[in-house]
Symmetry: C2
Subunit: 287 residues, 2 copies
Amino acid sequence: MKTSTKLLLGDCKTELKKIPSDSVDLIFTSPPYADNRKDTYGGIHPDKYVDWFTPIASELLRTLKPTGTFVLNIKEKVSNGERHTYVLELILQMRKLGWLWTEEFIWHKKNCYPGKWPNRFRDSWERLIQFNKSKKFNMYQEEVMVPMGEWAKSRLKKLSETDKRRDDSRVGSGFGKNISNWLERTKAYPTNVVHLATECSNKNHSAAFPEALPEWFIKLFTKEGDTVLDPFMGSGTTITVAHKMCRKSIGIEIVPDYYYLLKTGIENQNLLLLEQAGVYAPTAKHK
Amino acid sequence: MKTSTKLLLGDCKTELKKIPSDSVDLIFTSPPYADNRKDTYGGIHPDKYVDWFTPIASELLRTLKPTGTFVLNIKEKVSNGERHTYVLELILQMRKLGWLWTEEFIWHKKNCYPGKWPNRFRDSWERLIQFNKSKKFNMYQEEVMVPMGEWAKSRLKKLSETDKRRDDSRVGSGFGKNISNWLERTKAYPTNVVHLATECSNKNHSAAFPEALPEWFIKLFTKEGDTVLDPFMGSGTTITVAHKMCRKSIGIEIVPDYYYLLKTGIENQNLLLLEQAGVYAPTAKHK
DNA sequence: GTTCCGCATGAATCGATAG
DNA sequence: ACTATCGATTCATGCGGAA
């Protein structure tokens, strides 16, 4: 299982040129939202957002394999009491560049930012816009199947608890195998709404999105050994997950602190894997 | 409690002209999606959708009160493997006409249409796009508050007891006022994701959306006696709900069958109300 | 070892105040 | 008039210490 993680320090507009054409299976990224991250990408003004993103989108199109997918996590800000239109304009612009707008997934955030205003409710969803280079792209739907509705879920829960108790008195009866059959039959294909909580107050790293989010799309659009690209790496959630899932990955980050933090993190992770191999492999022999 | 329901038979583009300016508090509608309802509005081609809707949007803007709200339920079709862009273009066009794009709610359908395709999942959400005529509009947020999450509820209960004790030792510090705020907090404001089930297999009428959907927005944006308009009435869900909720309403429908069906339905409903009044009012006297 | 509670913390938004 | 900063508002979640 050979994986590699390549990290690039710099502005993705230029760093992307180092990546060969038709080489990436999945681009999953969350670019700085307009007027955010002032310290890094200069806090792009909403009105300039499309112009800023256009050359990057072109480079991304070049690097993606024809069978690959680009998932863009973004949400428009409120500006002067209205939702700003730069995301809508961005989608139209991307199509002009040659991207296909295949789908729009919704990330329904279980725990969204609090607050109260006279004219609007809390914003609890973000866009996950799926673009493709061609109509034929890889999609591994079975990898993200979910347990069926609450009815089946609760029933299974009780069933399995009963079975646990029964299992003590029925060792080796082959009953467990039936259960696993049940489990597989109660799975269904998901929809285009992903319902996940954000990971806040995580001491070590505060990411824009939870690991489960890139994990879901990496499972859906890549297989082991494929290449995942995140041109706006940030704290590196996408890259970390890709690495854990045995995908090759390329991350680009403009802030040195983030870059070096993740570089060290990945190196430690590799070391840990080596250690574990060193620890567990021999003990297994002693059995 | 005087309510009225006015039903108009015809193309809303012309029928809307009969409605006075600045007279409507809420427009809630689900227009025929592109290429749907071929028999009625001629199955508007996706590429012509914005042009077709523009004059209607202008008329709607005229009829709405400055404090009113327009909620548009719509979702783009898949066309040639891509999501069509007519909804995005429509939003941009509406702003050119003078509408403010205040917010986009998501209707997350609990039970969405079944199906399986190799390149996409089932579509389980629709847009509920909120437009306004001015930045100051009526919004009755308390009307749609929801029970807090189980976790917060149990914790708050205990927290408030601690605070009660503290309150005894701090009389007159103005602290008590905050406490009473917290004590009554068993409900929370909702978010901009509305999570409702579709009404499937309703024998008599197949509506585009469940009654709970217009009900939520009617509660949120109008009070009793206000006027609700649905220019694409269809089977009349919005109008029926508005009538039940003691709002005045205006419905426009181009298909005679739908029009007469609802006309009869509303008349029967009124008759029922009269009957009930006739039955129960006298018995009350005998008590 | 559980369960319970206190606390910090968010890709937020508005309105007021200040340059 | 137009932009920049700041405080107030609010709620689900995970962590860590306590019973």
